[in-house]
């Protein structure tokens, strides 16, 4: 952030260096359930970012002293692959990874029903395969889909997006050059149903009004991305069904033979009130 560059990041018509308008998102694609071994997983492409997220859990905590007798803990590992950036990133956690991991875990702890799984851990591994700014938001967005895929009970999905300031203009979803040479970067994550903010950082110089403008812009984009997350989860389900049903030509009917037959819901004591 804050390097100098000769070219203009935004031209006279308000078009950015990658052809986008001020409030335009980069193209995003999300796919759920890509890793068979993991309990839940997601693959996400966001502009040139390529992210893979895997969730394991709830499972036993090792080492034992980390376990919490009342609830599950979330262990989030954000990592950039050595080949994800132009100049080889040395493998292993660094201070930036550790910070991103910490805030992302805390963001997710707001929505996961941790009290249902005391003494366990929910491990979230997110790896950046190709990086082009906004990786922490892309990773958190992917992690939410992976958690839902794993069947971890949550209040809602978490969505993240960043906005920033470039050439004195507030823009949405900074790309690599804008992040490196721009004036401010503001990543943010929300719980869409309630609108509560679960992650908020700012790097650079902004006035309070600019911060508000950037936040509004990012929150609005989050709702668009939320639709893509939901689409990915639904698509996996219908795709699996299509593959499964595709072999048979016959269409047997059976009204009383639906998905709930045999299901004995545990109705006692599940009336959990949440605030």
């Amino acid at each position: 952030m804050g390097g100098t560059i000769d070219i203009k990041l935004i031209d006279e018509n308000g078009i950015r260096i990658d052809g986008r308008k001020r409030d335009e998102l980069r193209p995003i694609k999300i796919e759920a359930g890509v890793l068979k071994r993991a309990d839940g997983s997601a693959y996400l492409e966001w502009g040139d970012n390529k992210i893979i997220a895997a969730v394991y859990g709830p499972r036993e905590v090792h080492p034992k002293h980390l376990q919490n007798p009342n609830r599950a803990i979330v262990q989030y590992y954000y990592a950039m692959a050595p080949f994800s950036v132009g100049e080889r990133k040395r493998p292993g956690p660094d201070r930036r990874s550790t910070e991103i991991s910490k805030i992302s875990a805390e963001a997710l702890e707001n929505v996961i029903f941790l009290e249902q799984f005391p003494r366990t851990t929910i491990d979230v591994f997110v790896t950046v395969l190709q990086a082009s700014a906004g990786t922490r938001c892309a990773c958190l967005t992917a992690a939410s889909v992976a958690l839902a895929d794993a069947g971890i009970p949550m209040k809602d999905l978490v969505v993240a997006c960043a906005a920033g300031k470039v050439d004195d203009t507030i823009v949405l979803d900074l790309v690599k050059e804008e992040d490196n040479y721009g004036q401010a970067d503001l990543p943010l994550a929300i719980v869409p149903r309630t609108g509560e903010i679960v992650l908020l950082q700012m790097d650079g110089d902004m006035t309070p009004e600019e911060v508000e403008e950037a936040m509004d812009m990012a929150i609005k984009a989050c709702y668009e991305i939320y639709e893509l997350q939901k689409y990915a989860l639904r698509r996996k389900y219908y795709r699996e069904l299509e593959d499964a049903l595709g072999e048979e030509g016959e269409q047997p009917e059976g009204e009383d033979d639906g998905p709930e037959s045999g299901y004995r819901p545990e109705t006692a004591g599940n009336d959990q009130e949440v605030a």
């Binding site: 049903l245 059976g254 949440v274």
Partner: protein, 274 residues
């Protein structure tokens, strides 16, 4: 990013949500390859108002929301979400199939396919075991059929082998499925699994933890396992019992439905004998 029509969430269905626990399930069905399937709900989605929160859901005020990806089910004033995926959380009374992972002087440690390890104490087995003599009865790697005997608030689990029929399983094979699919495999009143047992002539025990024991003649065991896998894949479609029946018949198995079947055979013999 074009959204396929048959996957788009129908906003109208949410508005037409019936309140106050009607006996009728609000059907949100889609067609997949001409078969009727249930639409799924996602975490944070509104699934009911004025109803009680069952499994897979949570309540805020009068509104009930889904907590997991699954299928909505309204029954007896509760709205539930049957999750598609999820770990097995032990419940008291569940019959489960476990693997011995560790042996101590007064207990064995059992893996019951859950985040929580389950100890089996020497007082909870039908043999009289002396202190330290545990390896004589069960070793690491053995498969056992047990019941969950206790689960406390901190999810400390205990299992017991004292129920009739519980034992070490020496023969047969285990098939593992997602635990949430177990009710579908058992079927209404056990109808689905009974049919598979009859038609494959295998002994089958379904553990609530997603482990299913099958024993019988080799070809039949493979067939039973395949039938179970079909149920796991297609659990959300209708007409599954019929589909499994056709599948097994295609492989040369016939369903003699219990007493009725035997009488028909006897009648046939009498007719033929004249």
């Amino acid at each position: 990013m074009d959204m396929e029509e048959d996957v788009e969430k129908d906003a109208h269905e949410e508005e037409n949500e019936k309140t106050k626990g009607a006996a009728e399930q609000e059907q949100s069905d889609k067609a997949v390859r001409g078969r009727k399937v249930r639409e799924i709900v996602l975490p944070g989605e509104l699934v009911g108002e004025g109803l009680k929160a069952g499994t897979g859901t949570y309540r805020e005020g009068k509104k009930v929301y889904a907590a997991q990806v699954g299928i909505k089910n309204i029954r007896a004033g509760y709205v539930n979400v049957i999750p598609i995926n999820g770990k097995y959380i032990p419940r008291v009374g569940d019959q489960v199939i476990g693997y011995i992972t560790d042996v101590g002087p007064t207990y064995w440690m059992v893996d019951i396919n859950s985040p929580y390890p389950a100890p089996l104490h020497i007082n909870d087995v039908p043999w009289k075991v002396d202190f330290g003599d545990t390896m004589r009865y069960l070793k690491v790697g053995d498969t056992v059929l047990v019941t969950v005997s206790s689960v406390d608030e901190m999810k400390h689990v205990q299992v017991s082998m004292m129920t009739q029929g519980h034992r070490r399983l020496n023969t047969g094979s285990i098939v593992e499925v997602t635990p949430t699919k177990v009710p579908r495999i058992i079927g209404k009143g056990g109808s689905m699994i009974s049919m598979i047992k009859r038609m494959t002539r295998c002994r089958i025990i379904v553990g609530q933890n997603g482990r299913i024991w099958i024993d019988g003649e080799r070809e039949s065991m493979l067939l039973a396992a395949e039938a179970i896998e079909i149920i796991e894949r297609e659990g959300h479609a209708y007409g599954l019992t019929e589909r499994i029946k056709l599948f097994l018949e295609k492989h040369g198995r016939r369903d003699e439905t219990g007493i009725e079947g035997k009488e028909t055979e006897r009648e046939k013999k009498e007719e033929a004998g004249g």
